[in-house]
Structures are given as C-alpha cells and as structure tokens.
Amino acid sequence: MMNFRSFILGLAAAFALPWLLLIVVPALNYQQLTRVAYDKDKDGLEGFYPPAVVNGQGQLIYIQEGCNQCHTQMIRPVQLGLDGWYKGWGQDQESRPAAPVRSNTLRDYLGEKYAPLGVQRIGPDLTNYGWRAPAAQVIHQKLYDPASIHDWSTMPAYKHLYKLQKIQGPASERALKLAGKFAPPAGYEVIPTPEADRLVEYLLSLKKDFPVPGQPAVAAAPAAAKK
C-alpha cells in the first residue's frame, strides 16, 4: 500500500494527463488559429477562409433560446452518416448534387464564442442553412408558429420574438402573412421584434461549407449512383 502523499499524487497524475493533453494544450493552441488566405493559383479563389465572422447578436438569441437542443450545426463525413447527401444541406441546391457536402473543420467556427454544435438532431441540421433558406418572411412565419407551415412540426412557437400590434394607418409591409386560424385578430398585425430580425439574419448567414484552402474539392460521385 501507499502513503497519503503518493495516493494524492496518484490521483492528481491520473487526471492531470488528460487534462493537460486534451484540454489545456489544445485550448492554448486554438488561440493561434487564424483565418487563412486563399491561394489564387491553387484554389482559384480570392479572399479569406472562412470569409465572414459570425453574426454574434443573432447567435446569442439562438443560444439563449436553446435552439441547439434540437438542431445540430455539424455535417458528418459520408462514412459516418448521410448528412452530406441530404438535399440542400450544402451550397449545391441541386436535387442531385455532384458531390456530398464536406464535413466541417475547426476553422469553420472561427470567431464563435461557443459553437452550438448541438445536443440532438430532432430537427434538420442548420450548418449550411443559409444556402437553402427561404425568404426571410417565411422563416419569420416558421419561428412565429411552426404549425402554420407543417402541422406535424414539434418545433416550439417563438411568439415572444414577435409583436402583436394594432394596425394604425396602412398595414406594415413587415407584417407576417398568416392565414386561417393562425391569423391575428382583425385590425391587428404581427411584426418581428429586433431580436427576431437578428436571429433570422444569423440563420441566413449559416454557411460553413466554403472550400478549404489547399484541399481539393471532394471528388464527384458517379452520376449513376443515384437514379
């Protein structure tokens, strides 16, 4: 058996190793991670990767509402899941994309205070939602009352991000177009609050499949694979 000191040292050493290697060193190294420039000759592109910083205000709403409980923001490679082949989950909106959407890298989330990669995938993945997103009006309607778009939807209604107000003068052009039982009472209209606008701007900005500098694009899958 051992004495008290070596027992404590044993406990400390057992945990210090993963703590150091898995958390501390990677976290310090991460501070060095920066945007990289595309090489015009090799990549055929100009500018930086990733091209834009995250919309922090909108992401804050996303985080405060806990959207990541049901929506992931992470495309897995094709050997682990079908994510890359889901229709519209990447830049290519064709019904038969030539290649699967690429999986994500650390740099895709550069500048995010905390990347909401997700807890469960109860709703669709939102990594590259910006490419497939409908008009802002439709997203607002979806957020205001998802049941007005899909009656089976289990998404919560974020009505507190919208304002029900009396129509004074001409109706606002920003008012949601709600029909039937979802429509507000006569003489009233539903207007997005600034928070809703930020959230929708954030959702529209979700594009994380820009080409990685120095990496060849994923080889196109044989066209015959899908009929």
């Binding site: 057992a14 509402e65 806990g66 049901c70 897995r76 899941g81 994500n104 899909h150």
Partner: protein, 496 residues
C-alpha cells in the same frame, strides 16, 4: 469491512458512532432535504419537457417553458440540485463514519454554503427560463453561478478531505473513502477547467463544444460514478455483513477509473470539426471503461452473493443492489455511444439522453436513495414511517428509469436509422419527428410515475427530518427477514 463490529465494548462503540452522527447531522439533513426537493422538481420538469417535445403548445406557447429552455432546467436541477447536493451529504457522512472522526468545525460554514448553493441554483435556473441560457450542456446557468457553486462545493470538500488525511492508514483498506476523496478532488478541478475555458477564454468555437462534452462525461465518470460506487462499497458489506469480495478487483477498478475517466467526451462530436485524435481517444476510452465498470459491478455482485434475503428486506441494500446493476449498464451505453461502429448511428439522438439518465438517475440516484434510507434514521433519531412508501418509491424508480433508458435507447436507434435512411434524403423531417413521438410519450409517462413517487419520498423525508418518524429501535424493513423476526413491527404488519 467494519472493523469495529466485533468490538467487545459495543456500547462505547455505539456511543462513538452516535457522536459522529450528531456532529454531521445538520449539514447532511439539510443537503438531503433540499436535494429531495430539487429531485421532485426535476422529475416534474422531466414530464413537462418530454410533453413539450411531442406537443409543443402544451400549456400554451409561453416563452418560459419552450423545450429549449425547459430541458436544460430539468437536467440542471437533477445534476446540481439533487445529484451534487445529495452526493455531498453522503460523502460527508460516509467519510466521517469511515474515518471515525467527528466533524470538528465548519458546520456553520457548511450550512451557509448549502444555503448559497440552493440560492444560486434557484437564480441560475430561473435565469435559464427567462432566456439567459448559455446553451452549454450542464453549464447552462449564467456566468455568475459557477464561482459561487465552486466555493460552496469546496466548503464541503475541504473538511471531507481533511478527515481523510487525518485517518489515512497505509495498511488500511478503505476503498469507499478513496472514491470519495477522488470525487472531492476531481470535481472542482473539472468544474474550474470547463468554466474557465468556456467563460473566461476569448472563445474556443467548436473546441468549446468539445470541452463541454468532456465536462459532462468527466462529471459523470469522475464524480457521480465514484460517489455511487463509494456508497455501494460502504453499504453492501455493512448490511450483508460480508467483507468486500476482492481487494485486488476493488483497487484495480479504482485506479482504472482514475486513469481512464478524464479522456472521454469528445467522441460525442465524432465526424465533427474537432481534431481526429481527440475523438479517437474518447472513443477508445469510452469502450475501455467497460473494464472498470464490469470489475466493480462484479465485485459488488460477489460481495452480495448469497445474501439476497438481505437485498429483499433492507431498503438500502435493495436500492444499492439495483444501482450497482445499472453501473455496467451505464458502461455498456457509454461504449455503444462511443464506438464509431454504433456511435455514429445513435449520435445526436435520444441515446444521449439515455446515457445521462442511466448514469445520473439509474446508477447514481438509486445508490443515493439507498444511502439516504440508511443515513437519515441515524441522524433524525427516528425510523422511516411507512414500508409501503419505500416500496412504492423503489418499484416506481426501477420501472420508471428502466423505461426511460430503454425507450431512449430504442428511440435513438430509430432516430439514427431515420437520419441515415437513404429514402429520406430529399424529404423534410416529418418521418423523423413522427417516428420518435411514441418514445417521447413513454418517457413523459415514466417521468410522471417517478415524480409521483418522488413527491412521497420528499414528504417522507420531511417528516423524518422534522423528527416525526417512528420511535422504535428496529429499522423499517421491507418484509419479514428470516433470521430477525423480532424486527417485525406494527407498521410492517399493517402493510404486509
């Protein structure tokens, strides 16, 4: 295990124990009572959040109870309100008893820390409901919460560690106190690391998500598992009267857990943006942990072997026995979600909920219930009132938590199959949503049954703490024990 049980001077020995019990009475009962309150609240919220998952407009489209806010509150109340709180009470009592020391000073500090702990959690959880969630799993409470929680935890951990240090005997074998000391030692370390990384560093992007997953796994593996195992190692020999079956197994199981426990977590995001080696290590270790979990489970089983009569009549042993069955189950579910082969199929599904439930409720809480049923009568000076309440609590918990775990696992498999179903590649998520609905309904029903029994557990505990329990020298047993007919009481007779 208990070297004093054969002491010739039994009366003096009992007095010494009574003195130890008296010295920790206040803090331990405070923690148990508040913990039981949070447990009841958490399970009720479990019903509500499961209901919101299949009927989002249940109780109206109120912003404070959307699933995204409710689910974190449900889990946080379970982890910080019930789990850590009751764990501290159990740790304090077992350490005092095991080291044979009275708690000397710091009782007022402990009570104060307990009060602050509960206030912080109340404010923190309300903040989540009011829309201040950080969306970091198990750390959803706003930034202000963690330093307070850390200090409160240390107000308990430090005296517990001091007791251990004073009583440490190199030749002695005290595996339950090893685990308790480990839990005292590792939790603050994990907690500070995760909070500093996520709140104080300039922003870690996807690495932050990985550290968050590491935090959840580490708290399970290096806090909840050690405390539950410590309770099992303490109470099984104590009640069955048999020594721990194998010291080698116990020692090996402890060090294997200590060495492996800190490596997992990142595999939650397998196929994601994290560096591949992190995911690979987490995945490997997640499977390797089957070894310590299996060995510890085997050791508990061998210790209780031949004493199944005691299991059926002692409430404590019954809860702990089933808790230690859930330990290997926890290991299996962890391995299933860690290995790439199965993990990729159940990733981002309810299987994740199954893992949290089986570890925190199925394993840890069942062991904690057993400990509470043993410790409370000794501190409150009276015996549990009703056999029926204990029995109901046991059966509702066992069936309820098994239902949740099995349903969530099967639902996870179903969700994973739907996500990877090539026929759904161009459809919206209708099939995914509709297919998982029945499992979520089952979860809501199971939580409702558990809540029902937890309400009575809380009431029962309140009566005990108020000193309104049965005045008797005989413990409340679940039914007539063959060797101890004299322990039969009127309360049992009326419920038999």
């Amino acid at each position: 295990m208990d070297s004093t049980s054969n002491s010739p001077d039994l009366a003096a020995d009992n007095q010494r124990r009574a003195a130890i019990d008296k010295s920790v009475r206040g803090p331990v009962l405070f923690l148990f009572l508040n913990g039981a309150f949070w447990l009841m609240l958490s399970t009720i919220l479990g019903v509500l959040s499961a209901a919101k998952l299949f009927a989002p407009s249940f109780l109206g489209d109120c912003e404070f109870i959307t699933y995204g806010r409710l689910q974190p509150v449900h889990i946080n109340a379970l982890v910080y309100g019930w789990g850590i709180q009751v764990a501290l009470g159990i740790m304090l009592w077992i350490m005092a008893r095991r080291s044979g020391q009275e708690l000397r000073g710091g009782k007022a500090t402990m009570i104060a820390a307990g009060i602050f702990w509960n206030i912080t959690i109340t404010v923190g959880l309300l903040s989540i409901l009011l829309g201040k969630s950080t969306s970091m799993e198990w750390l959803e409470m706003p930034k202000f919460a963690w330093p307070v929680l850390l200090l409160c935890f240390l107000a308990y951990a430090w005296p517990i560690a001091r007791m251990f240090g004073r009583a440490f005997r190199p030749e002695g074998f005290m595996v339950s106190t090893w685990y308790i000391l480990g839990a005292c030692f590792w939790f603050p370390w994990i907690f500070v690391t995760a909070n500093v990384a996520l709140h104080c560093l300039p922003g870690l992007g996807a690495l932050g998500a990985g550290i968050n997953a590491w935090y959840v796994h580490s708290v399970i593996l290096l806090f909840f598992v050690p405390v539950g195992v410590a309770a099992a190692y303490y109470f099984i020999p104590k009640i069955t009267g048999q020594p721990i079956a194998s010291q080698q197994l116990a020692s090996f199981g402890f060090w294997a857990l200590a060495i492996l426990g800190g490596w997992t977590g990142m595999q939650k995001f397998m196929g994601g943006p994290l560096p591949f080696w992190m995911v690979a290590i987490g995945s490997t270790v997640g499977v390797l942990l089957l070894v310590p979990f299996g060995l510890v489970g085997l050791n508990h089983h061998l210790t209780a072997l031949g004493k199944h009569d005691a299991v059926s009549c002692s409430p404590t042993l019954r809860f702990i026995f089933f808790g230690s069955i859930f330990l290997p189950v926890t290991g299996i579910i962890l391995a299933l979600s860690s290995a790439f082969w199965t993990g990729a199929s159940i990733q981002f599904t309810q299987a994740w909920y199954a893992l949290q439930t089986v570890s925190v409720y199925g394993f840890f809480s069942m062991c904690a219930f057993g400990a509470v049923y043993y410790i409370t009568p000794r501190l409150a000076g009276c015996e549990w009132l009703s056999v029926r309440l204990i029995r109901n609590h046991f059966w509702f918990s066992v069936y309820g938590v098994s239902t949740i775990v099995i349903m969530s696992l099967v639902a996870g498999w179903q969700q994973g199959a739907d996500l990877n179903n090539p026929e759904y590649w161009n459809l919206d998520f209708m099939n995914h949503v509709l297919n998982s609905r029945p499992y979520v309904m089952a979860r809501a029903i199971a939580w409702a049954l558990i809540s029902f029994s937890n309400i009575f557990f809380l009431l029962h505990l309140m009566l005990m703490v108020a000193g309104l329990g049965r005045r008797s020298n005989a413990p409340t047993l679940l039914h007539r024990s063959h060797g101890h007919d004299d322990t039969q009481t009127s309360a049992q007779a009326s419920h038999a």
